[in-house]
């Protein structure tokens, strides 16, 4: 059985990873087809003051908000926003963090020290605070959120890639390839990268969950997406003054966040079990 087939077999048997990916696929599905699935797609922007704050019903599954907009439809579009923000942010952090980690791990000079020091500096402030700072410096918007999150998450990738690269370096096969005259970059790309890729994948999945929570928090605080964007955090912030009567206004966006982050965490945990046999804890 080829490596890929074996991985697929393990994957489909692992309930955690499987459920997680089902959830995520549903998320992607929803996000892409929001325009089709939403009963009131126009409610992203149009308001219906006559129908404000209606409880959940057969016409409005999750009720309406203070502008009479259908919450269910807005949540679906919010999924799109959430996905875009987190994919770009995590993707960008990966593009920045992984190469830096490879370089820092492979070389052992002042350069790698410098990279790790810079990473440490970025890690010395809790991510959300740094993100708020950045977002405010640029003016709050979805774009500044994406930028802020990318700039604050890359050190996690760098750290893990750095550690693994260093460990690998001690394995003799790296010396062997160098002795054979392979260029360093080639070695890094062809030999080191495939070996650290499983950690990168696991970290990305967990990072997605983390990023979604932070982005929602920024939206809630008003430091990120701004109303009337149907972002989940923004929606929850809007709902605050209408509690406790309009309980549906706050409850459903939060549940959406929960389900999605769960999905990514489950996938990450499941992937970790599959890809990284070192962390087997099933034996005595």
């Amino acid at each position: 059985m080829t490596g890929l087939k074996l991985t697929w077999r393990k994957f489909s048997r692992d309930r955690l990873a499987f459920t997680g990916s089902l959830i995520i696929l549903s998320l992607v599905f929803t996000a892409v087809l929001a325009g089709v699935l939403a009963p009131y797609p126009e409610d992203v922007y149009s308001i219906h003051p006559g129908e404000r704050l209606q409880p959940p019903s057969s016409r409005h599954f999750f009720g309406t908000d203070n502008m009479g907009r259908d919450i269910f439809s807005r949540l679906l579009f919010g999924a799109r926003i959430t996905l875009i923000i987190s994919i770009i942010a995590v993707g960008a952090s990966m593009l920045i963090g992984v190469p830096l980690g490879l370089l820092a791990g492979y070389y052992e000079n002042w350069f790698s020290e410098a990279i790790m020091r810079v990473a440490d500096v970025f890690l010395s402030i809790p991510q959300i605070i740094l993100a708020i700072f950045l977002a405010q410096s640029l003016g709050p918007s979805i774009h500044s959120v994406i930028l802020a999150l990318s700039v604050t998450y890359w050190p996690w990738f760098t750290r893990i890639v750095f550690a693994e690269t260093r460990t690998l370096k001690k394995a003799s096969f790296i010396e062997a390839t160098e002795a054979l005259g392979a260029s360093r970059i080639r070695t890094m790309l062809l030999h080191v990268l495939p070996n650290v890729s499983s950690s990168i994948i696991v970290r990305s999945s967990i990072g997605m969950g983390f990023t979604i929570l932070t982005a929602a928090a920024l939206g809630f605080l008003g430091a990120g997406a701004q109303p009337p964007t149907p972002e989940w955090g923004v929606t929850i912030a809007e709902s605050r003054q209408f509690l406790p009567d309009a309980w549906w206004y706050a409850t459903f966006p939060g549940l959406a966040i929960f389900v999605v982050v769960m999905g990514f965490n489950m996938l990450g945990d499941g992937l970790r079990d599959i890809l990284d046999p070192r962390i087997r804890r099933g034996f005595e």
């Binding site: 708020i132 809630f220 008003g222 430091a223």
Partner: protein
Amino acid sequence: MHKNNLTFILKRILYAVPAIAGLLILAFVISRIIPADPAALVAGEMATPQQVEELRRQHGFDRPLHVQLLLYFGQLLRGDLGKSLYTGRSVFSDLMDRFPATLELTLVSMFLSIAVGIPLGIVAALKRNSYLDHLLRGFTVAGLAIASFWLGLMLQLLFGMWIGIAPLGQRIGVDPPATVTGLYLLDAAMTLNGEAFLSALKHIALPALTLSFSSFATITRFTRSGVLDVIQEDFVLYERAMGLPPRLVIYKYLLRNALISTVTQIGLLFGLLLAGTVVIETVFDWPGLGLYAYNAIILSDYQAILGITLWAGVIYVTMNLLVDIALGLIDPRKTEL
């Protein structure tokens, strides 16, 4: 061993200095170089063009960058973090004022997560794969997926509005106790002020519970895996083979090793808690640094935001330093130079 310990501590402190310096420089870059017009940001949205110009000259934003950097460090050393648009006072005094509230919330939350998380983690590890273990794992996985601000709102909804047993916000419902430390619970206890103590307790309950929820999940998880890792270690097998009493093995030999991983988590935990206070204080109207940050965001009070960022960074670095030192004291392998 003593000499080793001291050198280790000094080395770690020295190590923290460039971290803080780097942090300050990063803040400088973000506040002066990234924005289109730093002066306008600081002046705020309500400022007139003349006021912006005035500010620009006052703060030296029109000077060359390296001069600005020097001025910046000079200001910081003097403790000058600028003035807040919101309160009109110096940011520094605002931070000092609001710090005890956040500190109290963070400490209580940390205490809760540790007091509940560590024992549960140990039990989950010792009774691995039991019903209890699976329940706890499910609980912790869920805990890491819940947005804390949403949880806070839900708890507020449930206990504050529907059931009505918890206050909706603020730190205390009666006159605050006489100030000794600024931590209401401690001060009330020390001045034997029962009324204030109870009121403070009622008010801190929901925010602390919410804040500790996700960190509790992290601690339980890591304690569990820490204990599991240690259980499989050869020295535990040897201690069992030599018939050492089980209680000795667990509480003396196993625990210290497992704690190594837990203590490592406390540093990370503190960062999570600190970050969490921003949203939790907003939800519960808790008059600390988090709420200060929230107001600063709403009003685009830039100096305040800069001040908070620096402050958070310094606290976080200090906390990690303390954790490192603690680790060095628990694990003698760390102090090997």
